[in-house]
Amino acid sequence: MSAISREEVAHLASLARIDLSPAELDKLAGQLEVILGAVATVRQVAGDDVPATSHPMPLVNVTRPDSPCPGLTAAQALSGAPEAEDQRFRVPRILEED
């Protein structure tokens, strides 16, 4: 596998919504290259005939009867909010200016 470039790390950081400093980008690119080099061995282990396993046990969908039960009050739900207003989470604007 080709080495992971600094530009690629910057793109991944923007996908992951983390502002990385230039120093962090340099350091991470080097470290990820070493880590990816080590974990890439998984590609040689299993043949095409091996099915993938995503979970240690067979998963079944679980539902419950749709019966009302107490939940958090608005005050409890907002108790950890960075900012709140009128019983709602107050958030920064979500649209770019046009």
């Binding site: 992951a16 974990v39 998984v42 240690p56 950890g80």
Partner: protein, 520 residues
């Protein structure tokens, strides 16, 4: 009346008996542990960061509430109420578990000051058992690490030598036990975070079968691998706590519905006559060059002999895919973690940081600035790695291949459990290394988990318990026992047999040999 130093050295089972007989009050027991914490744990600054000398096992100590809870148990007992077996026994809770009214940070700056409005099911189970919560224990940030050095609030010291790591991610819980700051503690194990800290601190820890203990209210790291479990100083104490923590929970969609095995009876029995014990060739340092410490292998081999003397039969088993487990784990875990940690978005709870020099920033800019300031290096590293492994063009090569390895590991376990009733290996390739030694070398830190990871990938239960001290450094060595899914009782049966045999040989529990801690 027993002294503080006598009370804190009792096992949880002895504490429960003394409470039931009215020989000691829960208030006295709780106060003894709070006094011990005050004496050896050290202090924290206004930001919660460890300062000065000390074990630094606790991020938050809940003294007043603990004493009030203890007094309520004493009053109920005095009134003749029937109480659960561990009622009034103190416990430390890993900071990954939501505790209503108690801060829960998961070792991260991004959750500094967050007080959950609800309890994790595990915590609700502890409260229903009338156990006394002393406080929250330190951990690697979001449980990512093998040394507790990745905590945003400073590392925890290993009570055997405060300049060394206590393991991770649950180093705070393990250190609290070894320092006699608590008789019991909770942990979570995604790749060894209960077992490896137990190994390097000379304590006991169990990762139950996947789904045996509810994940509701745990801060998720990798949901298909995460499993909460008990930590203690003896096999029986671990079983008593296991019994309290485990159980079906409708709030966890992966909660097991099967009848659970009786782990307490197994811990009291310790009968291994005729049991087939498989030593895993690939986890015994033979030929893989992964730096297995000689003293670790020596203590392991002695422990296997002790089990043979107790009547067990030994076979060697081969699990060839285990050599690829580490690679698969460090693709699957970051992939799941990068998705799980997306919830820390600065909108509903936790830290919010506005980017510098940006007028009227967007939610997305605030998110990116907050995650930059709130996450530590290891968390950023794994989120980026997981984002890479899941990105189009690389998904099949990395995440897809890792999932296939997971299938092969499950097949290896199935075949090995056809030949043996339990499997054995050292828990960790080395004893506790010095703080700071592997901090700038993530890959060498990851190698600490080489023996513990296969169990998480396959969902099988595992225990680590003390096997003695390594000759070269005098530090604790852990032995790992693995059993088939939902046969957790076998861990306790074998663990109890080994503990009894080794303590006869040592003429005392291993922790009797821990050096006295300085007053912090």
């Amino acid at each position: 009346m027993a002294t503080t130093s006598e009370l804190i050295r009792l096992t949880a089972a002895q504490m429960a008996d003394a409470l039931a007989r009215g020989e000691v009050s829960s208030v006295a027991l709780t106060r003894a542990h709070l006094d011990r914490i005050a004496a050896v744990d050290g202090s924290r600054d206004a930001d919660g960061v460890a300062t000065g000398p000390g074990v630094h096992a606790f991020l938050h100590v809940s003294g007043e509430q603990a004493l009030a809870d203890a007094a309520a148990v004493d009053a109920a007992r005095a009134a003749g109420e029937q109480l659960p077996p561990l009622a009034g026994v103190p416990i430390a809770v890993k900071d990954v578990m939501a505790t209503q009214g108690l801060p829960t940070t998961c070792g991260s700056r991004i959750l500094r000051g967050w007080v959950p409005p609800y309890d994790a099911t595990v915590v609700a189970n502890l409260r229903a058992a009338r156990m006394v919560i002393l406080g929250k224990t330190n951990m690697d940030e979001f449980a990512m690490g093998s040394s507790t050095e990745h905590s945003a609030y400073g590392p925890t010291g290993n009570p055997w030598d405060l300049t060394r790591i206590p393991g991770g991610s649950g180093g705070g819980s393990a250190a609290a036990l070894a320092a006699f700051e608590a008789p019991l503690a909770t942990g979570t194990d995604t790749g060894g975070s209960i077992r490896q800290p137990a190994a390097v601190t000379g304590t006991v820890g169990v990762k139950p079968t996947y789904g045996a203990v509810s994940r509701y209210g745990l801060v998720a790291l990798a949901s298909s691998l995460d499993q909460a479990g008990p930590c203690a100083r003896t096999v029986l104490d671990t079983a008593l706590l296991h019994e309290v923590m485990a159980g079906y929970d409708p709030l966890d969609s992966t909660s097991l519905t099967e009848t659970r095995p009786d782990v307490v009876a197994a811990a009291r029995s310790g009968d291994v006559a005729g049991l087939r014990i498989g030593v895993i060739r690939e986890l015994h340092g033979s030929g893989d060059g992964r730096g297995w410490q000689a003293g670790v292998l020596a203590r392991f081999d002695e422990a296997v002999e002790a089990l043979v003397d107790a009547g067990a039969k030994v076979v060697e088993v081969s699990c060839p895919s285990f050599t690829a487990a580490l690679g698969a784990y460090y693709l699957i875990l970051p992939s799941e973690a990068s998705s799980n940690l997306a919830k820390f978005d600065a909108m509903r709870y936790g830290l919010r940081v506005y980017p510098e020099g940006v007028a009227d920033p967007t939610a997305e800019q605030v998110m990116a600035a907050t995650r930059a300031a709130g996450f530590g290096d290891e968390v950023k590293r794994r989120i980026i790695l997981g984002t890479y492994a899941l990105s189009s063009g690389y998904y099949d090569a990395y995440y897809g291949s890792a999932q296939k390895v997971r299938t092969l590991i499950q097949r290896d376990f199935a075949a090995a459990f056809g030949e043996a009733d339990v499997l054995l290996s050292p828990t960790s390739p080395t004893t506790a290394f010095p703080l700071g030694e592997k901090l700038d070398d993530p890959l060498s830190m990851y190698l600490q988990d080489v023996a513990t990871i296969p169990a998480n990938l396959a969902g099988v239960p595992g225990m680590s318990l003390p096997a003695g001290l390594a000759d070269e450094d005098g530090l604790p060595v852990g032995l790992q026992i693995l059993a088939p899914p939902n046969a957790d009782d076998r861990l306790y049966r074998v663990g109890a047999a080994l503990e009894a045999a080794l303590e006869r040989r040592w003429a005392a529990p291993l922790l009797d040999r821990i050096p006295a801690l300085p007053e912090a």
